[in-house]
Symmetry: C2
Subunit: 358 residues, 2 copies
């Protein structure tokens, strides 16, 4: 196993989080960044030891956690410096990185295997890092056709040590899927949020919770997303054209007075949501929702959930409704249906105004 001495190039959100995840296991990574302050910050956060570029030569595995643009170039430089190390990356687009690495350095590229942890935050930088960032997340491993067994094994092992589930997927499939589940949603969220200005002065006040959820991604970093979009231009363009065709088709049907395509689309969307794995995908109807009024002062939410816990009820999910200009908040608790009566009784006894709301 050659993860004995791991080097991390790029002490941003992802690189620092990898260092923190390894540190959780008692492993100390070497942190290198073109901006030495970032490496020092990451080290101070406990993500490993800050070091110089030349120190990478002694590493057995180096993960390049650079922005999408320079990733392949940095991988090439690392391959030439750390002559016995395997190398991986974390770039959210894969074909262009793999092609570039092969183009730059075909003879050494067998020591490289691509990777992409599906985890992130709207904020970047080492200060946003979390040792748990990858826990339970998917981490795609994308080998080159010529990647060595050792390079593949090391890329997978790194993902596992960070707490992620690995999925070996070829680069073209990865890029097409990510265009659909990540890159297009980002563009669409931004497009919807950007339409707010065109919708006139009344629009912000009339935007409800649905608009806020659908546009949450719109708070992301413009330059990072331009780089990701350029790096996955082909598949993303295909996806955006497909979505544009769907929206235009619905618009044309509506202009003919035909609402059937909307009903069909909403039905297809429900099927898509139901295909999502894990807890969040467990069809929401399998939980029952209990709504509770929440005075907007410290500790109320804690007191509420403590009451639920004391009643032996596990809260599967919760969402807070923010009521602007109103001193009262409102929270929805999702619980298993068989726990509802117990919860309502316990909350009533503790003085909460609570209702079964689904």
């Amino acid at each position: 196993m050659s993860l004995e001495r791991v080097g991390i190039v790029g002490a941003g959100l992802i690189g620092t989080s990898i260092g923190l995840a390894l540190a959780r296991r008692g492993e100390r990574a070497l942190l290198v960044d073109v901006d030495g302050d970032r490496a020092t910050t990451a080290a101070a956060l406990g993500a490993g030891d800050a070091g110089e570029w030349a120190a990478l030569a002694a590493c057995t595995h180096v993960v390049v956690a650079a922005p999408p643009g320079p990733t392949a170039e940095v991988v090439d430089q690392v391959l030439r410096l750390a002559l016995t190390a395997t190398v991986s990356d974390v770039c959210s687009t894969k074909t262009h990185v793999l092609v570039e690495v092969e183009t730059l350095n075909r003879e050494m590229s067998s020591r490289f295997c691509g990777g992409h942890p599906i985890a992130g935050r709207e904020r970047g930088g080492p200060g946003a890092a979390q040792s748990e960032l990858f826990d339970g997340a998917a981490w795609v491993v994308c080998p080159l056709p010529g990647s060595s067994a050792e390079a593949r094994a090391d890329a997978e092992e790194l993902a596992r040590r960070c707490g992620a589930r690995t999925a070996v997927v070829d680069a073209a499939t990865h890029d097409a899927v990510l265009a659909a589940v990540s890159h297009a949603p980002q563009v669409v969220a931004s497009a919807l949020a950007a339409r707010l200005a065109a919708a006139g002065p009344h629009a912000p006040a009339l935007a409800g919770q649905g608009f806020r959820d659908t546009t949450r991604l719109a708070e992301s970093d413009p330059d990072l997303w331009a780089a990701i979009a350029r790096g996955n231009a082909g598949p993303l363009a295909v996806e955006l054209h497909a979505l544009a065709a769907v929206l235009s088709g619905v618009a044309e049907a509506l202009n003919r007075g035909d609402g059937t395509p909307v009903a069909d689309l909403v039905r297809a969307g429900r099927a898509g949501r139901a295909a999502l794995p894990g807890k969040a995908a467990a069809p929401r109807p399998s939980w029952t929702r209990v709504g509770v009024v929440l005075p907007d002062r410290p500790g109320e939410l804690g007191r509420l959930l403590a009451a639920a816990g004391q009643a032996g009820v596990n809260v599967e999910d919760l969402s807070i409704e923010h009521a602007p200009d109103h001193p009262v908040g409102y929270v929805d608790l999702d619980v298993r249906p068989e726990a509802v009566d117990q919860l309502l009784k316990a909350l009533a006894a503790a003085g909460w105004a609570a209702h079964r709301s689904s």
Copy 2:
């Protein structure tokens, strides 16, 4: 003031919630529904008294909370039955209701004034109703040109008694704004979720939190949304065509290798998000995020928030990350920046693994 005796036609989510909101003030509404069981259920929930259609004749104000399709027809019938009552509705599209009411019954239409509370849930029916549904929400009041001062005043007063903020907006503006902030986001969320099937077998496992948030609305009711889309066909078609043009434009730029339109769009989207009012719009950067690992068992979230409350720290928002196939959960707490140190100290003392994450 003629809200002395309020009648509610339609004991679904919205009608029952209006009844509950009035009951909170000690006012008992008359509940009428073509399905008498629904009216009885609503009454049992405390939303007022179930009654017969004919009893509406004695009401001073009747709010029609029917589905979009039959709304205008029901308004007409109520105007002809309750000859001294003012009448309003709650339909989420306005021009077609107002035009139909004037067409059906121009001579009595001065007693009508349109309305639309911007509040709802993915689930419908009286059981989903909440007395707090409208608290702090916007409630658009859309008069006809010929609506009497009394009809307008009653529509506004009903909204206020339900806890909402009123906004008087003409029907055309309302419909254009709602197309942008509600109807188009619904169609887009469904379109994104529907693309999951086309994205192949790996797609569900590689969909992250961003996809889940952006497609939450996709769980809505297909038939209700087909009716809303038909009722606002023109403005929604304009909005969908505009979005399709934006997506196609970005796709074409990407095919030319140009990422600038993506950066510009993400920037415009951030400006749109920043224009949203209220707490959720307070630019997130004004809160600091603290991440905490959460064992997946009853009471842990309560214990965590109790610790925050005991430290005197108000949690402004929180979000739970679901880690599929993993026994550990993860929660982000958003708090005021000046409270972070206090919170981290208190959580550490109570044994939580917590990090400043923004």
